[in-house]
């Protein structure tokens, strides 16, 4: 713990050193936040185009359509449709959720919550953001190439992603962009891991860390281990596309012992399954903390929660095969992967029960961050349960590549992770920007969002269960699917509603950041973790004196507490009667 004390540096003075080339973890966190919100918007519009096409095939996309697709009179063309779902998935996963949860809150929270002045390597941290920005440019550049952006799905399976399947530059740019982003995230992971190990405030053991830090730390470990695996796949794919190697070329196999498209799937999912946990772990950690903060109760079984998170992290590395049941793996393998996948239910159940235990008999304060956290509990429950259907080989053979999968992963990723991100944004807003967001509009935002997303993803699971395939431009050419047009229309209206509700968030956010006069107090939520012991917004050196930690992060409602507060700061000695 705190193996050394970082010095206080002078505050930067110029615009560039303050906002663009800042070494300050808080500024870098905010940069990632803006970056993520920007891409959330871009990815969101793409989602609406996909949904529009599915609900109203052959009709022009409103407002933007005529401008974007003049050749077809505003209708999304079939090849563009493939590009849209590819870019939508890629952007949401790698360029929206990752930067918000890991880039923004990882950077922002880790030093503040463990009582450090900055990350262990501030320069590396700055470079990590700028590489991420470069990667974003590379990805978007694909949209402006002659044959358009990548269109092989966010998984980029060969042969869709080799020169045969996608001859344009778009796919190459996609692959490069992901590689560069991988390097950026790895730099982040180096910083997070090192910082958490060496810069914790004196007195802070691992179990005194808030669960948010546990989630972020485990995420960093997964990132460091598995991003390079995707990196290797991307490198080989680029070699295939640019230098003519034969790693993923099928057909060349006719002359014996050559390329293998399935190899990419292995490499992708060895990374890809841990990746889904990379995204969910920070959200879980944050929600575990917030549930305790707003129930005014110690987090139930906090140690067990942390250990379950660790167990899930470890198990997540050995289950990737459940994405590939339909690739003609040997039955022995599919069954092993099935068993291993099911095993994750055990720590998940412990974890989930602990959330409920935290809520049980709490004096719950229904502020907006709490609403969003409860939303995560609800939607993650649904997402996790549907995972079991997919983990079971026999049901998965039927459900694979239907909208049921799309519903499942949107519940777990889009719904849970996004709601977690919103919870965190509302919650740490005062510390980040010094003002609170408007509670009323936050709640309106929450209710429309949660209703909207359940409409969307529940609808997806229903049509998927009925057999509607994913990735089809017009599934309704199949007779059995025609009866699903109504549900699809419903899903699309839900999506439009939910999309519009996000403007409430954006206005609320921008208003609070730039226009709100009223400053937030140092500790508006009455929470005891270290970042709330310093003024809002946090000063650039965080802590004038490095705090000494004397108790855990969730000390609420201790009967020995005197006075009118029901919580203690982590810097206070645990009250004893």
């Amino acid at each position: 713990m705190a193996f050394y004390e970082q010095h206080i540096h002078d505050a930067p003075t110029t615009f560039l050193s303050k906002y663009i080339f800042s070494y300050d973890h808080k500024v870098i966190g905010k940069q990632f936040l803006w970056y993520g919100i920007l891409f959330l918007g871009i990815g969101g519009i793409m989602a609406l185009m996909i949904r529009w096409t599915l609900a109203f095939p052959g009709q022009a996309f409103p407002i933007l359509g005529n401008f974007l697709f003049p050749a077809t009179g505003g209708v999304v063309p079939a090849d563009t449709y493939a590009m849209l779902f590819t870019m939508h998935g890629t952007i949401m996963i790698f360029y929206a959720i990752t930067p918000i949860l890991i880039g923004c809150f990882g950077n922002y929270l880790i030093p503040l919550m463990i009582g450090a002045r900055d990350m262990a390597f501030p320069l590396l941290n700055m470079l990590s953001f700028h590489l991420a920005a470069l990667s974003g440019v590379l990805l978007l550049a694909g949209l402006f190439t002659p044959l358009g952006a990548a269109a092989g799905g966010w998984t980029s399976y060969p042969t869709l992603s080799t020169l045969i399947g996608s001859p344009g530059v778009g796919q190459t740019l996609w692959t490069l962009a992901i590689f560069v982003l991988g390097v950026s995230s790895t730099m982040g992971a180096i910083n997070y891991i090192t910082t958490i190990i060496t810069l914790r405030a004196p007195g802070m053991g691992y179990f005194d860390m808030p669960l948010s830090i546990w989630g972020l730390g485990l995420t960093a470990v997964l990132n460091a281990i598995f991003l390079p695996v995707l990196g290797a796949g991307c490198l080989l794919l680029v070699f295939d596309r640019v230098f003519g190697t034969a790693f993923f070329l099928a057909g060349a196999a006719a002359t014996s012992g050559t390329g293998d498209p399935i190899l990419f799937q292995h490499v992708f999912w060895i990374f890809g399954h841990p990746e889904v946990y990379i995204l969910i772990l920070p959200a879980w950690g944050i929600v575990s903390d917030l549930l305790s903060f707003f129930s005014r109760k110690p987090a139930f079984g906090a140690k067990a929660t942390a250990l379950s998170m660790t167990t899930i992290t470890i198990l997540s590395t050995v289950v990737y095969g459940h994405h590939m049941y339909t690739t003609q793996m040997s039955p022995l393998l599919t069954q092993s992967f099935m068993t291993l996948t099911m095993t994750i239910s055990i720590p998940s159940a412990i974890f989930f029960a602990n959330w409920l235990g935290t809520l049980w008999k709490g004096s719950i304060r229904f502020h907006s961050p709490m609403l969003f956290s409860l939303g995560v509990v609800f939607v993650f429950g649904l997402g996790g349960l549907t995972g079991l259907y997919l983990a079971t080989v026999t049901t998965d053979l039927y459900l694979h590549d239907t909208y049921f999968v799309v519903g499942h992963f949107h519940y777990t990723m889009a719904a849970s992770v996004l709601l977690g991100g919103f919870a965190a944004t509302y919650f740490w807003m005062p510390k980040m920007f010094g003002t609170m967001m408007n509670e009323f509009w936050a709640k309106v935002h929450f209710w429309i969002t949660i209703l909207g997303l359940n409409g969307i993803f529940m609808g997806m699971m229903i049509v998927g269960y009925a057999g509607m395939h994913r990735r089809l431009y017009n599934p309704f050419i199949y007779e059995f699917a025609q009866r699903m047009i109504d549900i699809n229309t419903f899903v699309t209206w839900s999506a439009i509603t939910m999309g519009l509700a996000q403007f409430i968030f954006v206005f609320n956010f921008v208003h609070a950041v730039f226009f709100k006069k009223e400053k937030a107090s140092a500790n508006p939520w009455e929470v005891g973790t270290l970042e709330w012991t310093i003024p809002s917004p946090a000063p650039h050196y965080n802590f004038k004196d490095i705090p000494v930690v004397k108790c855990g992060p969730h000390e609420y409602g201790n009967p020995a507490l005197t006075g009118d507060v029901d919580f203690q700061f982590q810097t206070e000695e645990l009250a004893k009667s």
Binding site: A2, F3, Y4, E5, A120, F121, T186, A189, I190, N191, I193, T194, I197, T198, A224, I225, F226, L227, P228, V229, G231, A232, G233, L235, L236, F239, F243, G244, T245, A246, F247, A252, T255, S256, G257, T258, G259, D260, L263, H266, V267, I270
Partner: protein, 197 residues
């Protein structure tokens, strides 16, 4: 690294920085190991699913140049280790080991280039199928890392000065050293798997 000398003057701050840097370097090495491990995973798949190896009528790569590369990179690991251990001392000797490492690093790259030109002269190009794909791609990626590590050596130049402040450079030396040895190990694995067996 002679721990005895260094620990005597080890302040809390210096110890902390050293620990920090060693944790970070561990993460870096894990990362790079996973990158190469994924390559080897791919290689294993191709190798065991192919009836004959090398496939498609290729012949084994002539062992001379790869063996030469192996000898060179092992020697460079040795010289790097010597430099490492003399880093705390003053004097000429550590300069010799340092420049020997620079030279050997350069020679390794030269031997790789020779390997590639040799393959080209035999009419084996990277597009010719999975076997040359593997040989070229893996050696490219490894060589790219060697180039980075080689440039990192120049970052150690200030440590050759007389009266150098050890605490301000020690982490650089330790880390570059670790990376250098790491690349040697990766090459050794490549030598055995791609060329020998």
């Amino acid at each position: 690294m002679s721990e005895a000398i260094s620990m005597n003057t080890m302040t809390k701050e210096r110890y902390g920085r050293r620990l920090t840097s060693s944790i970070a370097m561990t993460v870096v090495l894990v990362t790079f190991s996973m990158l190469f491990a994924s390559f080897f995973l791919g290689f294993t798949v191709f190798r065991i699913t192919s009836d004959v190896w090398p496939p498609m009528g290729f012949e084994r790569i002539d062992l001379f140049l790869p063996t030469l590369s192996t000898v060179i990179i092992m020697m460079s690991s040795f010289t790097m280790w010597k430099f490492d251990s003399l880093f705390f001392s003053e004097g000429k000797e550590k300069k010799i080991w340092f420049f020997a490492t620079i030279f050997l690093g350069f020679s390794f790259m030269a031997s790789q280039v020779l390997l590639w030109t040799d393959l080209h002269s035999k009419g084996i190009y990277v597009q010719d199928g999975i076997f040359p794909s593997i040989i070229y791609s893996f050696t490219w990626v490894h060589a790219a890392h060697v180039i980075v590590a080689w440039m990192a050596l120049f970052y150690l130049l200030p440590t050759l000065k007389v009266g150098v402040m050890i605490p301000s450079y020690e982490n650089r030396v330790i880390n570059v050293g670790k990376f250098w040895h790491f690349l040697g190990i990766v090459w050794l694995i490549m030598y055995v798997t791609l060329f020998l067996i």
